[in-house]
Symmetry: C2
Subunit: 375 residues, 2 copies
């Protein structure tokens, strides 16, 4: 009876596999993720001495990510629950290291930095990015001060999938001896593979001198299951310095934010990454980008434009009557995410979005846009 009740409620959810979720940065995890997750569900990496095998998987996963991000040998990695915790841990490290009180973020930084600043008594200094939708180094210079604890750059912005000019930002930070965190929650599992394929995208990771920490999510373009983020620091000491005594669990010090955490998502991510390999991710990235370009073209055909040329598999579709369009689409069963600040709705062309789905979507979008006088 309980199972029936829950299944009944589950039917009110939109499934990723329906193709109707066009605006989320998540997707259906690969089948191997589900299979593995369950086998490790009971494990607790907050108490790793009891779970030596799972702990070993965690170490291997962190090493894979360190390699993916060109991290130096002395780098440290930490599993986190996702982008918010990745940002939190990085900023906490910066706060500890510098003892300073301000963080500088671009206008398009994820809203989790508000939470973080709020919690840590840090002043959030926002760099306007109105013209380019990426951080302008000239403007950045104006807000830096001797109170700056960290600068944040974004590799795959939440609104548009834009990538900040990490190289230039990092040069400035290196010069000024500033901590630089790169939020690659979305971009981390797609930029490296597009670069493999010859896409002209900026470097964003530890290959860039001056980058201090990078965070990325395996439950976004990594195609694994929630909750799984990873944050990597150029120097593993930075995490150890902020660790605290953890008596009565099997490891004596804990530098992670959360205590009890399952090994399920860790093993699942390890399985997905091993299963796909670099080639598998390249295929996914290529397919997503092709569908993104296809979508952009179909949008243009019905008279709509995007805020920026797509950089990654994200489209910000300009509409003047944002709420009406979003509501109209919802009535037709399509879920896109409104971005009021830019008067656009966001589409994220995740692996569950095919050209066929776009072909079904475009006529509905056209109908809605005509109805509200958008086109």
């Amino acid at each position: 009876a309980i199972i029936e009740e829950l299944n009944g409620l589950r039917e009110k959810d939109i499934l990723f596999s329906s193709g109707r979720i066009l605006g989320s940065m998540c997707t259906k995890p690969l089948p191997i993720a589900e299979k593995v997750y369950m086998n490790f569900l009971e494990t607790n990496l907050g108490d790793p001495e009891h779970f030596l095998g799972t702990w070993e998987i965690e170490k291997r996963l962190i090493q894979i990510i360190k390699d993916l991000l060109h991290a130096p040998k002395n780098a440290g990695g930490q599993i986190v629950s996702g982008g918010t915790e990745g940002n939190l841990v990085s900023i906490l490290a910066a706060k500890h290291l510098t003892g300073k009180t301000e963080i500088v973020v671009p206008k398009h930084a994820h809203f989790s930095f508000n939470k973080v600043a709020n919690m840590m008594n840090l002043k959030l200094k926002v760099v306007d990015t109105s013209n380019t939708h990426t951080l302008e180094v000239g403007k950045l210079k104006n807000v830096l001060s001797d109170k700056t604890a960290a600068v944040v750059a974004v590799a795959g912005s939440t609104e548009l999938g834009a990538i900040d000019p990490i190289q230039e930002i990092a040069e400035l930070c290196d010069e000024e001896q500033l901590f630089l965190h790169v939020d690659a929650a979305f971009g981390g599992f797609v930029i490296p593979f597009l670069k493999d394929l010859g896409y002209d995208l900026p470097d964003f990771d530890f290959v860039v001198r001056g980058v201090s920490t990078v965070s990325l999510d395996a439950h976004k373009m990594g195609c694994s299951a929630i909750p799984l983020g990873i944050v990597v620091a150029r120097d593993k000491e930075w995490f150890e310095e902020m660790s605290i005594d953890a008596p009565y669990v099997s490891r004596r010090r804990q530098s992670s934010l959360l205590g009890t955490r399952s090994g399920g998502p860790v093993a699942a991510a390890y399985a997905v990454i091993s299963h796909l390999g670099r080639e598998g991710y390249q295929k996914i990235a290529r397919r997503c980008m092709e569908t993104t370009y296809y979508t952009e073209q179909r949008l243009r055909e019905i008279g709509l434009t995007t805020v920026i040329e797509p950089v990654l598999n994200v489209l910000g579709v300009r509409v003047n009557n944002l709420n009406e369009v979003v509501r109209g689409l919802l009535e037709k069963g399509w879920h896109v995410n409104p971005v009021e600040r830019l008067s656009c709705f966001r589409m994220v062309i995740m692996p569950h979005i095919t050209k066929q789905i776009i072909d079904e979507f475009i006529p509905d979008l056209e109908t809605v846009c005509k109805k509200v006088g958008e086109i």
Copy 2:
């Protein structure tokens, strides 16, 4: 091949079902938890408008917990990843409400309060509890000041399962208009059921005037899967005040700490709680306590004592040669958790621990203790 690699590593873990993990506050989730978890794995409650059914389950789960804790109608509940986040969210609420800078915790409070204080620039004032292993109201009075943002009391301490005199603490806090957080991570899913059975235990929840927030974990004595904690505040406004704008996800404001989070553990906890019902939890609590008393008796028979008479299903077994005893037990395949501060090791008589396991454990413990000259 990947599955084989992972299964091979999984074999290096200790399974809860082996009965060899004697010191953890976690246990094997009920089978229904595993079954349900997978069906909801892809859902994201950070973006709930896409997952209306799962969101409804979350609301029902929160209501069940509010009822369990005698929360008033205007109370608010929030799903968190576990005890650490539950404590963090509560202290953050107190910080926002009061604007003050110190938190007062008993000596036996969980180490997560160190993380929290550290992160939020709060001064941690620790009340010594050397004689009673519970918070003494007399000593508490001495450390309160006009800077106190919150007082913390514990219902089921991590080291000994002790319960602070919440009623007396709450009276003082009510008088002084102080925010009182009760950390019931462990006790929350066992104290109410033992009280049903006639155990003489103190009130710890919203039935006590003066209690502001209570947090508890479904992945401990709730017998559900990681990660699932809940924090309840007497006034739901306290969470809303600390919420921040969350553009580009389907809900416009987010008061939770984490962004993306799966509905899997939420649906699993709802299923377990519905499946067990109050009677099911009573049976589990009774069995755990009976095994706890049985263990205490068997310990006494071999000449060992506990730090306090067991209050809940936790035993702090006194040993002078703590490290040697713990190491000796480990060599025989038994996992207990050392508590150096109290020169004892912790046993938690979770549902996976039976009298039969205790009967196997005691002779090994006796051998180890004799070998190191403990008895």
